[in-house]
């Protein structure tokens, strides 16, 4: 007998269904007997009973499945058989979990001989606590259900009550977003503070040497400047050199010149570029673009041309962002009042002059906002740089050389076999914090610019 939360949840869901049927039937019956009209439709009475039956029991189930393993372990440790356990540490935990696995039937026999005498106490304890839990849960469910059942009367306002609970669910759902934001901020801050106890923030932000895996003789160094430079070089410079002109011209062509039929077909096709997973772009950059660029660089006689180059990652990332820039530019150009365009054309300007001298200057704030959003997206991009840009922290302006970025280093620091508390893993969270703050600022500024600009023409 073990405590199976999923099966029990199903059980109380079944009970709740019975409660729903019973509540609905009773409200009908009472209304008929008293010859009165019901305040709420019968199914609301049903829902009222079902909710009273289900919610307290489910809540108890959640609490109990979190608490009971600890209670079981406590009881096992209190038995005589457990007195011979090692005091602390890994071995003790291993023996206990071994015994637990056998007692719960997940494992046929103990792997550690020391666990054998603990199996029976474990089985006994989990048996006992399982029964306590099930009994308490059923009692709660029945009590809740009965309470609600006795309150049913023809003029009982069941709908109002049920609707209040529905509203509560809606509110809770919208709070998940705040919880996530807080979760991100707190987990990043918490781990970063632990990192900054080991390494000063000034070193991370202004140090020029990034070598977290240097050998034992030299201490590890966590200077972030090479990473920040690599991130800017790839995400804010190379990718934007590719994405801005192509994206803008695509938007201009599709909004101003292309026939509606062409626009209708070409736009979704370009959107496919945004829908291709980043891992595919990364593979493409590493397999096809980077070797081609390296050959090109060798042909030009450029030194340190590497198969992992900033240029390959940047170009592919730029292509990925084209649809994003183009749709932002599209929106901004469309938001410019038609009268401005007509006025310019009426004065005899060609469409090209109208676009360059009227539409784009008028749409510029929106376009700038869009570009900032695109930059924030590019510097947060991970897979392309992990696969194509390399991991060596170089401070170089040579786009054919290998550079590394913040995101690539986060992945590198966290995917080795490291204990969680080492400075290396904590450094990943500090880098994450920097990345989060920078992208957040970019987004806030960009959204503000876009919003202000929209208001100007409304």
């Amino acid at each position: 007998m073990t405590f199976n939360a999923a099966a029990l949840l199903l059980l109380i869901a079944g009970l709740a269904l019975i409660g729903w049927l019973a509540g609905r039937a009773r409200s009908n019956l009472l209304a008929g007997r008293a010859g009165k009209k019901l305040h709420s439709r019968p199914q609301y009475h049903g829902w009222y009973v079902a909710l009273w039956l289900f919610a307290p029991a489910a809540l108890f189930l959640a609490v109990w499945s979190a608490v009971s393993p600890g209670l079981i372990t406590n009881q096992v440790i209190a038995t005589e058989a457990a007195q011979s356990l090692p005091e602390f540490g890994f071995e003790r935990g291993a023996i206990l979990s071994d015994a637990r696995a056998v007692a719960q039937g997940k494992q046929a026999a103990v792997r550690l001989p020391a666990a054998a005498p603990l199996v029976k106490p474990y089985a006994d304890a989990s048996h006992k606590y399982a029964w306590i839990g099930i009994a308490a849960m059923l009692a709660l469910a029945l009590a809740g259900g009965l309470y609600a059942f006795t309150r049913i009367k023809p003029d009982f306002r069941a709908r109002t009550r049920v609707e209040k609970i529905v509203m509560l669910f809606l509110l809770l759902a919208s709070l998940v977003a705040i919880l996530t934001t807080f979760g991100i901020v707190l987990s990043l801050l918490f781990e970063s503070i632990r990192f900054f106890r080991l390494v000063s923030p000034a070193e991370l932000l202004f140090g020029t040497e990034w070598a977290p895996t240097s050998g034992a003789p030299q201490p590890d160094t966590f200077g972030g400047i090479p990473l920040f430079w690599g991130t800017i070089l790839i995400g804010a410079i190379i990718a934007m050199i590719v994405a801005i002109p192509i994206g803008m011209m695509t938007a201009v062509y599709l909004t101003q010149y292309a026939a509606p039929v062409v626009r209708k077909w070409v736009k979704p096709i370009l959107e496919i570029l945004a829908g291709v997973p980043t891992v595919v772009y990364g593979y493409f950059a590493a397999l096809t673009v980077a070797p081609a660029l390296r050959e090109f660089a060798v042909m030009l006689g450029i030194p340190n041309a590497s198969t992992e180059s900033a240029l390959a990652a940047g170009i592919v990332m730029g292509v990925m962002i084209i649809p994003f820039v183009s749709s932002m530019a599209d929106d901004s150009i469309n938001a410019v009042p038609q009268a401005m365009r007509d006025g310019s054309l009426a004065l005899g300007a060609t469409p090209n002059e109208t676009i360059r001298q009227v539409l784009i200057p008028a749409a510029l704030p929106g376009v700038m906002g869009g570009i900032l959003l695109a930059v924030s997206r590019a510097i947060g991009e991970t897979m392309i740089v992990v696969m194509a840009a390399g991991l060596s922290a170089n401070m170089t302006a040579n786009p054919f050389a290998s550079v590394t970025t913040v995101t690539a280093q986060i992945v590198k620091l966290l995917t080795g076999d490291q204990e969680f508390d080492s400075a290396k893993t904590l450094a990943a969270f500090a880098l994450g914090l920097v990345l989060f703050i920078v992208t957040l600022l970019l987004n806030i500024v960009a959204l503000r610019i876009v919003k202000k600009y929209r208001e100007a023409y409304e």
């Binding site: 709070l175 991100i184 192509i246 011209m249 062509y253 947060g380 897979m383 995101t407 995917t415």
Partner: protein, 418 residues
């Protein structure tokens, strides 16, 4: 006072050449625009072309015909045990691998066993399990070739290996067929038996969990914000955080999941459960924003009419607004889910990059997802994995594009213009 200016001479050569210049600039500009569109289109076409070119071959594999004579080399097992759960182990212990290797040496010349995959005997094993009668006679098995032989047969090779492959081909012992293990197996170190089924199942489980959490939460949050929320500081905070979450880099969600789900809650590492929770947090804001737009486009007259005939605010929303907004909500959800399905970075951090040789059994067993499988294979040294990677990419792209196409179909079919 009237200012006298000479009328512009539009027909004069100065103005004519100026106009010609302006028109030329106009044409050039238009051409640039067309060039930009074509360039991005060409890039997409090139990408797809490279992937399909490399990947189409990944679905095929070279097989070598090897006759195995069980009369000459009997496999001594109790045929009654072939139906048991541990039949695989029984056959392996009886030494089938050696028998197959010996048969290959005999049929293909010295070192013939190196020409077939080291896992080829497993194919023989499943054939025996299907038909124990094979043990009484001589059968020709089409066994998967070794990875190098497969590449040599597809691309042509020089040297000793090339000569051998050519000889085999001349004897008619090589055949190419659809590589079923690719669709049936989980990851393996040998490209001859590595498959995507494990990753595909992991992806399905992960996305299922993500959908189960993100869809209800996202829709309910959107309903609250759009229909009921009072304008105050709290709802502003909710709104700001949703908009920001939609723009937070995905890897940050991986850090959050690592710190909270794995180190704090101690949920099972590298499992579809943790992966799904991570992707749920990531997609929820996308679903909220799409749902809010869909809800906004339901005209107020419908709400007023429902209220007018006596519906309560909750009934208005759940009986009228939600059903009308549902096509739009579903479109946004499918697009968000497709994005989550192609996501790799956050899952890297929660441990889903480990080598998993088994098909995942449940939501708490270690597993990997399709994009992660692509990433892992792209790092493999064995050249046989290059085309496997591209083949896996083709599968992923087909899944994603059909999801997106379905979303667009849904939008066109059900969206109403009010």
């Amino acid at each position: 006072m009237n200012r006298q200016t000479a009328p512009t001479d539009w027909k004069g050569s100065v103005m004519q050449s100026r106009i010609a210049k302006r028109y030329a600039a106009e044409r050039r500009f238009k051409l640039f625009g067309l060039g930009a569109v074509l360039l991005s289109g060409a890039f997409l076409a090139f990408l797809l072309f490279v992937m399909v070119g490399n990947g189409a071959r990944g679905f095929m594999y070279t097989h070598v015909a090897v006759p195995v004579d069980f009369k000459a080399m009997p496999l001594t097992i109790d045929t009654a045990r072939l139906g048991d759960a541990d039949a695989d182990q029984v056959i392996a212990n009886a030494g089938l691998a050696d028998i197959v290797a010996f048969a290959a040496d005999e049929a293909l010349g010295a070192d013939g066993s190196k020409l077939i995959s080291e896992n080829a005997w497993k194919e023989v094993r499943s054939a025996i399990k299907d038909d124990p009668e094979l043990l009484n006679g001589k059968t020709v098995f089409e066994l998967p070739a070794a990875s190098e032989v497969d590449i040599a047969a597809k691309e042509g090779a020089k040297g000793v290996l090339g000569a051998k492959v050519d000889a085999l081909e001349k004897d008619g012992k090589l055949s190419t067929g659809i590589h079923w293990p690719f669709f049936r197996n989980a990851d393996a170190t040998d490209p001859a038996v590595a498959g995507i089924w494990g990753a595909l199942k992991g992806s399905v489980l992960t996305i299922f969990i993500a959908f189960l959490i993100a869809f209800p939460t996202g829709v309910l949050a959107a309903l609250y914000l759009e229909e009921y929320a009072p304008k105050n500081r709290w709802t502003d905070l909710i709104e700001v955080s949703i908009n920001n979450l939609a723009a937070v880099p995905s890897i940050i969600f991986g850090l959050l999941a690592l710190a909270v789900f794995i180190n704090w809650f101690g949920l099972c590492q590298a499992s579809p459960l943790v992966g799904g929770l991570t992707l749920a947090l990531m997609t929820m804001p996308v679903i909220v924003i799409a749902s809010r737009n869909a809800i906004k486009s339901v005209p107020p007259s419908i709400r007023d009419a429902a209220l007018g005939v006596g519906a309560s605010p909750v009934q208005v929303v759940f009986h009228h607004v939600l059903p009308l907004a549902l096509p739009g909500i579903l479109t946004g959800t499918i697009i968000g889910m497709a994005r989550a399905l192609g996501e790799t970075a956050p899952l890297l951090l929660v441990g889903m990059r480990a080598f998993i040789g088994d098909v995942p059994g449940g939501i708490c067993s270690p597993s990997t997802v399709l994009p992660m499988q692509i990433f892992l294979w792209s790092d493999e040294v064995d050249r046989g994995f290059v085309e496997k990677t591209s083949a896996a990419i083709i599968v992923l792209l087909i899944v994603l594009l059909s999801m997106n196409a379905f979303a667009i179909y849904l939008r066109n079919k059900f969206e109403k213009r009010w």
